[in-house]
């Protein structure tokens, strides 16, 4: 029976029976897509197994990777008045098979609360190009700025397109992660202390990476009609 189970798992794309150690909660977007697919609409028309309608991209597998990076400076130790948060982000995407083509990579930063009258923050997201010693990681050689934007906590989540970066991360040697920095907006920091400035951002909950991949063996291009 075990041998038969192994053969079946292999045909489903597993080398062995998965054994999750500390499974995270299932992201709501995956529940939503799953319920849509398993709902009544699936009976009405034949589903396209190689296109994710909900995200409007070609693909057959959707994965959500939890962030395995660490805070560079924990909140409690933090006294730098110009910065609220600095965090490494790392997503181990090695489970994406070599044959799979990444068609979408989306980073989500999630906060536990949103507010219309919250403070304004500056955000910078860097791609790490090389590992450096502690305190030496700010040179242009070691990281590349991907995003610099201002935001207010109007929405619980911020999303960033990382499709091209995920494609390059399929080479594990190039996957050195990202660095996220959040600062209080300079104009608003005159009268208050750094602790007050960063209070809202301490609702920061987690980061995750959603990827969609296409397996060309499963999803062959239709032949052109003459």
């Amino acid at each position: 029976l075990k041998r038969r189970e192994e053969l079946f798992l292999k045909s489903l794309g597993f080398s062995s029976k998965p054994n999750p150690v500390s499974p995270p909660p299932v992201p709501s977007i995956l529940w939503r897509i799953f319920n849509q697919r398993m709902g009544s609409s699936i009976q009405k028309k034949k589903p396209d197994l190689c296109f994710v309608e909900e995200l409007n991209v070609p693909g057959s597998v959707i994965r959500v990777f939890p962030d395995q990076g660490r805070f560079i400076l924990p909140y409690s130790d933090y006294i730098n008045p110009t910065q609220c948060l600095e965090k490494r982000l790392f997503f181990n995407i090695s489970t994406i098979e070599k044959d799979e083509r990444v068609t979408m990579g989306q980073l989500e930063l999630r906060f536990s609360q949103n507010t219309y009258y919250g403070r304004v923050f500056d955000l910078r997201l860097y791609r790490t190009l090389q590992i450096t010693l502690k305190g030496m990681g700010r040179s242009k050689m070691s990281r590349k700025l991907l995003v610099a934007q201002t935001f207010r906590l109007l929405h619980k989540s911020l999303f960033f397109n990382l499709t091209e970066i995920c494609q390059s991360w399929q080479d594990p040697l190039k996957n050195l992660g990202l660095v996220l920095e959040i600062f209080p907006k300079k104009e608003s920091s005159r009268m208050s202390t750094a602790k007050d400035e960063c209070k809202d951002i301490q609702t920061f909950l987690y980061t995750s990476l959603l990827t969609v991949t296409l397996n060309p063996l499963q999803c062959k291009k239709p032949r052109r009609k003459r």
Partner: protein
């Protein structure tokens, strides 16, 4: 003649109900959803002559004909799935990532000879 057929409606080839509960196969630790699904299976005889309800292929019809001539050498056709559908599965992989994936040909919708 149909009246001489030794086959009854209960043992001819058709779809049989099979619900697979992932808990029963010890997969509940990593399969998040669904908890189980209607997999079904095909079972039954494909007698001579093949009628329309048995959904026989041209080859199966020919095989039953040859079987009637050479019953010891040529077996009757098999009862197999003729239409299958995919299911979506939400699961954890070995690295605790959450994955949503379609798997083709997981549920039997129709059977035939």
């Amino acid at each position: 003649s149909y009246s001489k057929m030794p086959f009854t409606a209960s043992n001819i080839c058709k779809k049989r109900r099979l619900y697979v509960e992932f808990k029963d196969v010890g997969w509940q630790n990593w399969v998040i959803a669904p908890q189980g699904y209607m997999a079904n299976y095909c079972y039954g005889d494909c007698p001579y002559p093949l009628t329309e309800i048995l959904n026989g292929s041209n080859h199966a019809i020919l095989q039953t004909l040859v079987h009637s001539i050479e019953p010891e050498d040529i077996p009757l056709p098999c009862c197999v799935p003729t239409k299958m559908s995919p299911i979506s599965m939400l699961f954890y992989d070995n690295n605790d990532n959450v994955v949503l994936r379609h798997y083709e040909n997981m549920a039997v919708d129709e059977c035939g000879c």
